[in-house]
C-alpha cells in the first residue's frame, strides 16, 4: 500500500478527535461523583477538572480547524446541516466555562455545588449533542446506499444548501435508527459510570461495580457501534473493535488487582488508553452519510495535505512534549505511576 498524505492526514484527524473525545469524556464522567455526593468527592474531582477544562476547549478548536483544513469541501455542507447543534454546543461550552470560573475564582466563599452541577450538566449535554450529530452524519442520508428503506436523516440539497437540514426526529424515533442510537447512548453511560469509579477512584479496589457496569456497557456498545459503522459503509469493524474492548475491560481489571490499582487510575495512562480505544473505533470509518460519500471526496488540494502532514508531525511532537511537562509538574517533578506516594512525599516534605 503506497503512502498517501491524505490518508495520513485522515489518521491525524482521527487522533485529534480521539484526544478531544478523551478530554471531554474525562469531564463527562465527572457527572456521577458531582451529582451523587459533591461534598465527598469534590477534592478528587476538582483536582482533575480544574487544570484540564481549558485544554478541553483548546482541543475542540483543534478539531474544528483540523477538519476544515483536511476536508475543506465539507465546510459549507457541515455549516448548513449542523448549524443548530453547533450553535447549542458552543453556547453550552461558554456557559460551562462561566460556571467553573465562578466556582473557582469569583464566588469562593459561596457553595460551589450548584455551579459545578451546572458545569457538569452542560458538559454532559455537549457530549450527548456531539454524539448525536456524529451519529446522524455517519448513518443517514436521503440517498443512503446502506439500507434504502430507512428514512432519510440528512436532507442534503447541494443546489441550495440553505434548504439542507438534519431530521433528528427520525434519528430518535425511527425503529432501526433509534434502537441503535439509544443502545449506544445507554452503553456509553454504563461505561462512563464504570470509568468514573476508576478514574476518580470512587469505588473500593475490591468492588465489582466498575467491571460489571463496563461489561454491560460494552455489551450494548459493541453491537450499536457495529451497526453504526456498517451503515456508514465501514469494513472489518469487528476486527477494529478488539483492541478497544480489551482496553476498556483492562482498566477496571487493573484497578481490582492490588499491584496495578494506581496505574489504572493514573491520569496519563488512562488518557492514552482511552485515546487509543476511540482511535481504533474511528479507524475503519472512511465514508459518511450512510455510505453515500467517501470522506476523501471533500479533501483539500494535495499541496495542502502535504503541508498539513508535516505541520502535524512538528505540532504533534510539541504537544507531546507539553503534555510530558504537564504530567511532570502535576506530579511535583517526579516521574512515578503512584500519585498517592507523590502526594504523601509532598506532605512529608519539610515546610
Amino acid at each position: 500500500m503506497s503512502f498517501s498524505y491524505l490518508n495520513a492526514d485522515g489518521v491525524f484527524l482521527k487522533i485529534v478527535i480521539a484526544a478531544m473525545v478523551t478530554f471531554l469524556f474525562s469531564e463527562f464522567i465527572a457527572v456521577f461523583p458531582i451529582f451523587s455526593n459533591y461534598e465527598k468527592h469534590k477534592t478528587v474531582v476538582l483536582k482533575h477538572i480544574v487544570p484540564i477544562w481549558e485544554i478541553t476547549g483548546t482541543m475542540i478548536v483543534f478539531f474544528v480547524v483540523e477538519l476544515e483544513l483536511i476536508y475543506s469541501g465539507l465546510t459549507p455542507i457541515a455549516s448548513y446541516l449542523f448549524i443548530p447543534v453547533i450553535g447549542t454546543f458552543v453556547a453550552l461550552l461558554i456557559l460551562r466555562n462561566v460556571a467553573i470560573i465562578y466556582a473557582e475564582f469569583i464566588w469562593k466563599k459561596v457553595d460551589s455545588r450548584p455551579l459545578m452541577m451546572f458545569y457538569s450538566g452542560a458538559t454532559f449535554l455537549m457530549v450527548i449533542g456531539f454524539a448525536t450529530a456524529v451519529a446522524a452524519l455517519l448513518i443517514g442520508n436521503s440517498v443512503s446506499t446502506a439500507i434504502p428503506s430507512l428514512p432519510p436523516l440528512l436532507h442534503l440539497n447541494t443546489v441550495n444548501l440553505s434548504k439542507s437540514y438534519v431530521d433528528y426526529t427520525a434519528l430518535l424515533t425511527s425503529p432501526v435508527y433509534s434502537a441503535v442510537y439509544w443502545e449506544f447512548l445507554f452503553g456509553t453511560l454504563f461505561i462512563a459510570y464504570g470509568m468514573s469509579q476508576v478514574f476518580y477512584r470512587l469505588a473500593k479496589r475490591t468492588s465489582w461495580v466498575p467491571l460489571l457496569t463496563i461489561i454491560f456497557g460494552l455489551f450494548l456498545n459493541v453491537n450499536a457501534w457495529n451497526v453504526v459503522a456498517t451503515l456508514a459503509g465501514a469494513k472489518f469493524v469487528g476486527y477494529y473493535m478488539v483492541l478497544p474492548v480489551i482496553i476498556t475491560l483492562a482498566v477496571p481489571l487493573l484497578y481490582m488487582a492490588k499491584s496495578t490499582t494506581h496505574l489504572a487510575s493514573y491520569k496519563p495512562f488512562w488518557f492514552v488508553a482511552v485515546t487509543i480505544s476511540v482511535l481504533f473505533l474511528e479507524l475503519p470509518i472512511t465514508r459518511i452519510a450512510g455510505n453515500a460519500y467517501s470522506i476523501n471526496a471533500f479533501a483539500s488540494p494535495n499541496s495542502m495535505q502535504a503541508a498539513n502532514f508535516w505541520l502535524s508531525i512538528i505540532g504533534g511532537i510539541l504537544f507531546l512534549l507539553l503534555m510530558v511537562m504537564y504530567a511532570f509538574v502535576y506530579n511535583s517533578g517526579k516521574l512515578s505511576f503512584n500519585p498517592e506516594k507523590i502526594e504523601k512525599n509532598k506532605q512529608e516534605m519539610p515546610k
Partner: protein
C-alpha cells in the same frame, strides 16, 4: 395573508423592511464579533507581557509587590483565556456557519496559518495551566518564570497567526491560481502554495502595526484599571502593588507608542503599493497624482466627488515618499477604479481619527517621559493618573477604529485581488477574488444566531471586566503578600523592607 406565510418568508419580509440583507447581516455580525473579541485579546496579550516582566523583577529584586502582581494577574489571565477560548470557538464556528464559501477557499489555501495557531494555542493553554495551578510545585522559581515565556509566546503567536490570515485576504499573491478560480466561478482551486499565507506582501507591515496596537490597547486598559484603583485605594500595601503595575505599563506605553507610529507609517506606505484602491479611499484621493499630493483632513465622497475636507498641500507625497518601495512619487486615485469597487468613504474619517488620537496619545507619553527624566514622581500627580484612565479608553477606541478602517476598507470584497506595479488588478476587470455577498451564508438560521451573538458579547464583555476586576481587587492584601514572601523566600521580616510587618510598621 401573513398567517399563510411560513417563517422563512416572514423573516425575509422583516429583514427587507429593516433594510438588512443576508450578506450585510453576516458582515455586521462578524464585524461585531471581532470588535468584541479583540478587546479580550488585547488585554490578554498585555497581561501575559506584564506577568513575565513582573515576575522577573520580583525574582531579581526579591520584591513581593511585583510577585503579588504577577500572581493576581495570572489568575485574571486564566479568566480572560477561558472567555477568550469560548469567544474563539464562537468565532471559529461563526466563520464556518456565516462564511461557508469563504471558509472552503481558506481551508484549501490559507488554513495552515489557522492550524499553526492551534499549536500556539495549545502552548498557551498548557503553559498557562502549569503556570497558575502548579505555582507552588516549582522548587526553582526561575523555572516557573520560564513557563511564563510559554504563555507569552503562545498568546503572541496565536494573535499573530490569526491576523496573518487577514493579511492574506488583503494580498493573496501566489497562494493559488486566482485566474482559474475566477474563470471556473469559484469551483476550481488549483496551484495551491500553502506556505505563501505566511509571506504575503502585506503580512509584515500589517502584523507589525496590528500587533503593536493590540499590545498598546490592552496595556492601556490595564493601566487605566490600576490608575483608578490607585486613586481609590486607602490601603498603602495595595497602592504599592498598583504602583508596580503602573511602572511596568508606563514603560510599555512609551516604547509601544513609538513603535505604533513607525509601524503605522510603514503600513500606510505599503498599502499605497500593494492595495492602491484601499489606499486611495483611505486618503480620499479622487485622482492619481505623480507629485505634491495634498493630505486631506476629514471629508466625504458625495456623488462621486470629495467634499468637506481640509487640504494640506504636498503633505501626503511628503509622508509617502520615503517608504513607497520604488513606487516613489505615484499616489493612486479612485478615478482609476470603477465606483462599485469603492469602499464607504467614512473610512477616510476613521483613519484620520485614528491618526489624530495616536498623535494625542503620543504627546501625552512624551510629557510623561519628560517628567520621568526630570525625576518627578508621576504617580503622585493626579492629572497624570486621570490621563492614564483616559489612555485606557482612548487606546481601546483607537485600536477598534483602526480595525474598522482596515476591514471596511476592503468592502465590497472579502478577499482582494493582488495588484501589479501599475496599480491595476492582476486580472483585468476583477478587483477582488471574492465578494462579501458570494462568501456569506444565506441560511435562515444566521439571523437567530446573530441575535445570540449580540446577546453573548453584550453579556460577556462587561462580565470579563467584572471577573478581572473581582480577581485583581486584592480583598486580602496581607494574605497575598505573605504568600509572595513565602514564594520569594523572604524569611526575615526584621531585615526586609518589603515584608508585611515592615509595611505595618
Amino acid at each position: 395573508m401573513l398567517g399563510k406565510c411560513n417563517k422563512y418568508h416572514f423573516k425575509m419580509l422583516y429583514l427587507i423592511k429593516m433594510g438588512i440583507s443576508y450578506p450585510v447581516w453576516d458582515s455586521a455580525m462578524f464585524a461585531y464579533t471581532i470588535s468584541a473579541h479583540i478587546i479580550i485579546v488585547g488585554i490578554t496579550l498585555a497581561m501575559a507581557l506584564v506577568i513575565t516582566i513582573a515576575e522577573y523583577i520580583a525574582l531579581k529584586r526579591k520584591n513581593k509587590y511585583y510577585e503579588a502582581l504577577a500572581h493576581k494577574l495570572s489568575i485574571a489571565l486564566v479568566i480572560n483565556f477561558a472567555i477568550g477560548t469560548a469567544s474563539g470557538v464562537f468565532m471559529a464556528v461563526e466563520l464556518m456557519l456565516f462564511w461557508p464559501v469563504f471558509m472552503r477557499l481558506v481551508g484549501a489555501v490559507a488554513m495552515l496559518s489557522f492550524y499553526a495557531e492551534v499549536f500556539a494555542f495549545l502552548v498557551e493553554s498548557i503553559t498557562l495551566m502549569v503556570y497558575v495551578y502548579f505555582w507552588d510545585n516549582f522548587k526553582n522559581r526561575w523555572n516557573h518564570w520560564l513557563v511564563s515565556w510559554g504563555v507569552l509566546f503562545g498568546t503572541g503567536a496565536s494573535a499573530w497567526l490569526i491576523t496573518n490570515v487577514n493579511a492574506w485576504m488583503n494580498t493573496p499573491t501566489g497562494s493559488f491560481n486566482i485566474a482559474k478560480y475566477i474563470s471556473s466561478g469559484g469551483s476550481v482551486i488549483t496551484g495551491v502554495n500553502p506556505l505563501k499565507v505566511f509571506d504575503e506582501p502585506s503580512t509584515g507591515p500589517e502584523l507589525f502595526h496590528m500587533f503593536m496596537a493590540m499590545y498598546f490597547a490592552g496595556s492601556m486598559a490595564l493601566l487605566a484599571y490600576f490608575a483608578y484603583k490607585y486613586l481609590k485605594s486607602k490601603n498603602d500595601e495595595e497602592k504599592k502593588i498598583d504602583r508596580s503595575a503602573m511602572k511596568i505599563l508606563s514603560a510599555i506605553g512609551i516604547v509601544d507608542i513609538i513603535l505604533i507610529g513607525i509601524s503605522g507609517s510603514i503600513e500606510l506606505s505599503t498599502l499605497l503599493v500593494v492595495e492602491p484602491l484601499k489606499y486611495a479611499m483611505l486618503e480620499l484621493n479622487m485622482h492619481p497624482v505623480m507629485s505634491g499630493a495634498p493630505e486631506h483632513l476629514f471629508g466625504f465622497i458625495v456623488n462621486g466627488k470629495s467634499v468637506d475636507f481640509i487640504p494640506l498641500a504636498g503633505i501626503q507625497s511628503l509622508l509617502a515618499y520615503p517608504l513607497t518601495k520604488g513606487n516613489a512619487g505615484y499616489i493612486p486615485g479612485l478615478s482609476s477604479y470603477p465606483s462599485y469597487t469603492w469602499a464607504p468613504s467614512v473610512i477616510h474619517d476613521t483613519l484620520d481619527l485614528m491618526v489624530g488620537f495616536g498623535l494625542l496619545m503620543g504627546l501625552f507619553w512624551f510629557i510623561v517621559l519628560v517628567l520621568r527624566l526630570m525625576k518627578k514622581d508621576i504617580f503622585n500627580m493626579k492629572w497624570i493618573l486621570y490621563g492614564f484612565i483616559g489612555m485606557g479608553f482612548l487606546g481601546m477606541f483607537t485600536m477598534e477604529d483602526g480595525w474598522y478602517t482596515a476591514e471596511v476598507g476592503r468592502v465590497p470584497y472579502i478577499i482582494l485581488m493582488p495588484y501589479n506595479s501599475a496599480g491595476q488588478p492582476i486580472i483585468a476587470g476583477h478587483y477582488g477574488v471574492m465578494t462579501i455577498a458570494e462568501a456569506a451564508s444565506t441560511s435562515t438560521i444566521v439571523w437567530y444566531l446573530g441575535i445570540v451573538i449580540i446577546l453573548f458579547y453584550l453579556i460577556i464583555i462587561p462580565f470579563t471586566f467584572y471577573f478581572n476586576a473581582k480577581v485583581l481587587n486584592l480583598a486580602n492584601v496581607d494574605d497575598e503578600l505573605r504568600k509572595a514572601e513565602k514564594d520569594l523566600n523572604i524569611n526575615n521580616p526584621g531585615k526586609d523592607i518589603n515584608s508585611v510587618n515592615a509595611g505595618a510598621r
